[in-house]
């Protein structure tokens, strides 16, 4: 559409309409499959397949354990990436991107090669009684591995957004570096950290490719969806999917709302 030659107010109205339409289009695109889901779900025969509830329990329990592990391991790395400058840092950046770029199925194979019973590491763990395939620790390993890169990248950007000067001022006000981190860096990075946490949660809960290879058992929701599809068919997929969405959504929603509310002064 030609917009030159229009008066300014009219042009800016057209621009507003264009942005709005593009937004609606994108949202429609994103939501459309779920409209289909709602339409195809047989609401009168809504029933879970045997083992579905167990899968929900497994997914929730291990994701809740995985999330603190992701935070504990990922936060120092993200902070270090945000705050340090050295030659060859781009190499470290590439290393962090690797797990994101590699297809999950391939990652699962790589993790099995590294931690499986035929590897020295896997054998060592087995000797102390920890199996790193088809076990709870293996399930956790897959979840943490799948979720951590997303958290690290968000958290790093969040830390980079905190003005150095505010941290320095806090030091001159007599606070130790740790206190500065807790009282200045964390609160100022909270929006990005919350986003990272939400992403990590969604990744941990929804991880399929890695889990499929590394820990077919215990069976979480994503693998159970696949099993339901194989054994029973589509009608057994939709109810579990509804349940999955129901348990997955609250945490990211709450995190987003909370971070934003505290941002609006």
């Amino acid at each position: 559409m030609r917009t030159d030659g229009m008066p300014g107010a009219q042009r800016s109205r057209w621009r507003g309409v264009a942005v709005w339409s593009a937004g609606v289009l994108a949202l429609t695109f994103l939501v459309a499959p779920f409209v289909t889901l709602a339409a195809f779900t047989r609401w009168d025969h809504l029933a879970l397949a045997p083992g579905d509830l167990g899968a929900v329990g497994v997914s929730l329990l291990y994701s809740l354990i995985a999330l603190p592990l992701v935070i504990a391991l990922g936060t120092p790395l993200a902070w270090w990436l945000a705050r340090s400058a050295f030659r060859g840092k781009v190499l470290i950046d590439a290393l962090v991107l690797l797990p994101l770029l590699t297809p999950p199925l391939a990652l699962g194979l790589l993790l099995t090669s590294l931690y499986g019973p035929y590897s020295p590491i896997g054998a060592a763990f087995e000797r102390i009684g920890v199996m790193l395939t088809n076990s709870a620790p293996a399930f956790l390993l897959a979840q943490v591995y799948g979720a951590m890169p997303y958290y690290v990248i968000s958290a790093r950007a969040a830390f980079e957004g905190v003005p150095r000067e505010l941290e320095q001022i806090a030091l001159t006000l007599g606070k130790s570096p740790w206190q500065v981190f807790l009282r200045v860096t964390l609160p100022l990075a909270r929006l990005g950290l919350s986003a990272g946490l939400a992403l990590a949660w969604v990744r941990a809960l929804g991880e399929f490719g890695i889990v499929l290879i590394v820990a077919y058992y215990p069976q979480g929701m994503p693998v159970k969806l696949w099993v339901n599809l194989q054994d029973i068919g589509l009608p057994a997929v939709y109810p579990l999917l509804w349940l999955f969405l129901l348990v997955a959504l609250p945490l990211p929603l709450w995190l987003g709302l909370r971070a934003r509310r505290r941002l609006a002064f």
Binding site: Q168, T172, L173, G174, F265
Partner: protein
Amino acid sequence: MRIDLQLRHPIALAVQFELRGFSVLLGRSGEGKSILLKALAGLLPAQGGPYAGLAPQHRPVGYLPQGYALFPHLTVWQNVAFALPGRQARRARACALLETLGVSRLASRHPQTLSGGQQQRVALARALARQPQLLLLDEPTAALDPATREDVFAELIAQIRQLGLPALAVTHDPHLALMADWMAVMVARRIVQQGTPRQVLAAPASIAVARLLGIRNRLRGVVVDAGHVAVDGVLLAASAAAELARGQAVGVLLRAEDIELLPAAADSGANPADPLWTLAALREEGLATRVITAAPLRLEALLPRDRADAIALRADQSVRLRIDPRHVQLCALNPATEAE
């Protein structure tokens, strides 16, 4: 208190100077003045004192950076209470500090909603909360509204004096330096002069110092006799020449405000034997007029409104200049290390 500090990173810097009361370090941008303050606060590695080897959180300094760096996620009173220990009574103590600085009504506002002057007060209150022994201020007037800058800053100095705290402010603004108790001048990353503002102003150590002090006419000349210097063949009467050896090369400094212009006409009171000066430009500066001469020398004079009105100056006119010999200051030429 004495500052004696050496830095290698991010720039090489070695400075020694005294602090007395409210002190100002005057220097151009890029001299490393902010870096020096950060080093004093312990935020950059440096050798020497005071506070050698102490981590920033253990140094008894209050640091006010340019722009004040108030915490955006905290209210005004929470900013001030940041350094205060404990849970109870923090708010009361923070509000008492805000009260002292006359900004207690802002206690529950957020920093983003404050003016530059208000933010400065809050930053000062926050720095005072940890009971520092030295205040460090980086370009304290930079973020202030130009219309009220002088007043706001004069009040800030008065308050700091009242607290009896030694303070070091770094700035490139000579007006600010003149309000201090003590000043040091930095040129080419070295301290080239220090003293009270009156002492420094009366005898700038070099042409570079004169430039920092805002002296507009900075010329190179030679001492001719006990009462005169020659600048490009033009003889200027200068009382200070009496103390210098004949033939010595000197910097000749003249404030624009100290040059008086007289009409060329015989009845103007000027000495008809004085040379006639042609004008290059007239520039209105508010109510005053800045006059730039073309020949025999290029000089700047600042005429107050009544003088400019009285002689009805035009750019194509010639004039005679009257300069009090006591106002012609002579200084050393810049040492090789000092770039003009």
